[in-house]
Amino acid sequence: MRWISLLTASAVALTSTLMGTSTMAQTKIDFFFPVPVDGKLAKELQRLTKVYNDSQKDVAVTPVYSGNYDDTKLKAQAAAAAGKPPAVALMSANYLLDLKLSGDIISLEPMLKADGTTREKLLSDFWPALHGNAIVDGDLYGIPYQNSTPLLYYNKDHFKEVGLDPEKPPQTWAELVDDAKKLTKEGRYGFQLAGGYDYIGWLMQTLVMTNGGRFYNEEYGGEVYYDTASTLGAAQFVEDLIFKHKVMQQGVLDGGAVSSNFLAGKVSMMLLSTGGLSFIRENMKMAYGVGFVPKNVRNAVPIGGGSLVMFKGLNDEQKQAGWKFIKWLSSAETLGGWSRYTGYFAPRISSYDMPEMKEFMSKNPDAKVALDQLPYAKPWTATYQTVAVRKALDDEMQAVLSGKKKAAQAVKDAQKNADALLKPYVDQTAMKLP
């Protein structure tokens, strides 16, 4: 008897395999993702992909961990050049313009059309601040997936200790300086900015925006506003925090070092991404609070984080499979779960209507502050050659942080270097005259 059932079972298995391959071939696609926050996120994304693979039979997604955002860009571009483009890649939100200009990523409009929807309809559920980086030249190129803004983190115990109200973080640059002066003592600084590559550029954009500035031309990829009053004021403010007010440590500290100092009580206030919220919540032993980024002229913050994009060179099946996976990954439910797990805010507004999310927000009032700051958020700097143009300012600001350059000179040099990098694009566009 046993061999009969075994035979039947194998026959059934064989038939179903044959049927499976002949009628409905499974489409295999790659999903490239970086891990910009915390290592266990790589495991979680692999788990999510498995949940998706198990939930349906048409698409098999291989989750590919691909380093940081820059590595991911390099890997995806190399793979596309070699004929193996990833169907879906999680890309830094401000690379989209650059990747569109270099012809590496494809417009998502045809997929929207096939679904019988429009860009406006889809984006109406995403926070308005995220639209700018997702749309390039009027077409949708990315779906926001994990997003952040800068946030002021402060140590409530330190506030109490020096007689400050622990429920009132500084609202303005003037208050920030006053509070930081009180908080600074032997072995402790009142305030700290992360100075590593990328981070310093992002935080400079934040300070420039709160100083009333625009930092770059949101409508045109060939202009940055480094040598302006708003940028000079922000750069001078950073220089003064270290050398005039003496409330910030001299030198370049990367994000990891700043948050370690904050956890250790060696710094009382810091500007860090909302993406670090879960990490601080889990590891901070003292009482802490979060607040808006202090302003000089107005409240404003740039967004950060990553969007899902599709690379060129995919065949129709891969395109459809990739789009299906993107839709699943960017559903209100998946985005809500990812937000709770990581500390990023959920890009979809409707994620916050879900019961799990409501419960989470009531338990974690700090996540609420990040959300309240969103109406003041604006797109992230994105230009032709985004990384190099951003680095032009990063380099100069690091020189300011180290005391090697004065702010006034730094913004002039940053502008000069950035203009040189932008020139090829400007010559092809704004300066190409009849």
Partner: protein, 274 residues
């Protein structure tokens, strides 16, 4: 006399300590309980009750057994192929007479001048064309020939007096028998030195495996480690990072400790500076 040697010993100790600080810190931090960074995170003094929690978390964050296996396949596989190719090529450049030998040799050496990232796209295209994209063999293939190894073996063979070979040839040996029975045994120090350099380079390589490999099942150690070392937007879990780093370097460390004498001897012999 006595005093100067004492000073030298003292100076050497200071230098040795400075050189080993990163390693000492990694060691101390990996057993520290407060993994996200307490007040003493930067300290070199193990002022705590040691814990294995960081190692446990590292093992949970990545499939280290699999990463070890994949990395070992890549590093030793490359080395095995290289030993064959560099011995034969080194022999050809050292002993065979053919037109354009010197010119070809220098063209070969030009490869050393190329910065590896420049070759990423062309190499990747070739790996895809050969159907090896995403496979460990695809990672290994571009390294099967080594300009540095060929150069090293050519120099090593040239240092060996021809008398030994001539004696063998008189006895009726073919060139491959000469190579196998006479030259290779005498070139062993050179081969050992090269093996060490090659193993370390490919064990630690990050960018190229990252480009070629996709499936988590084929991931190597460095890429696996990077997944919990890259957290720039949030904070760094230093303890976990230190434990992971120790796990990655441990086999190389053990290898070096076991074969230390041979390694140092072979470097002395081949005149290589570490």
């Amino acid at each position: 006399m006595k005093k100067t040697s004492l000073t030298i010993t003292g100076l050497m100790l200071v230098v040795a300590f400075l050189w080993s600080t990163p390693f000492l810190w990694t060691l101390v931090a990996s057993f520290r309980p407060d993994n996200a960074g307490g007040i003493n995170m930067a300290s070199l003094v193990p002022d705590y009750v040691p814990t294995l929690a960081n190692f446990k978390e590292a093992f949970e964050s990545g499939d280290f057994v699999l990463y070890y296996l994949n990395t070992a396949i890549v590093a030793f596989g490359i080395l095995a192929a290289q030993i064959v190719t560099i011995s034969l090529a080194g022999y050809a450049f050292a002993r065979l007479n053919f037109p354009g030998r010197e010119f070809l040799f220098y063209v070969f050496l030009l490869q050393l001048m190329l910065v590896p990232p420049v070759l990423i796209v062309p190499n990747l295209r070739m790996v895809v064309d050969l159907g090896l994209y995403g496979s460990l063999l695809g990672v290994m293939l571009p390294y099967f020939a080594s300009a540095f190894g060929t150069f090293l073996m050519r120099q090593t063979f040239r240092q060996i007096p021809r008398d030994f070979e001539e004696a063998a040839i008189i006895d009726g040996a073919h060139w491959w028998q000469v190579l196998w029975h006479v030259l290779l045994p005498m070139a062993k120090p050179g081969l050992v030195a090269f093996s060490l350099v090659s193993l370390i380079a490919h064990w630690n390589e990050f960018l190229w495996p990252l480009m070629v490999l996709n499936d988590p099942k084929n991931q190597t150690l460095t890429v696996g480690l990077a997944s919990f070392a890259m957290g720039t937007e949030g904070g760094k879990e230093w303890g976990l990072l230190a434990a992971g780093t120790l796990l990655v370097m441990f086999p190389l460390l053990a290898l070096f400790a076991a074969f230390q004498r041979q390694f140092v001897d072979s470097f002395m012999f081949s005149g290589l500076k570490g």
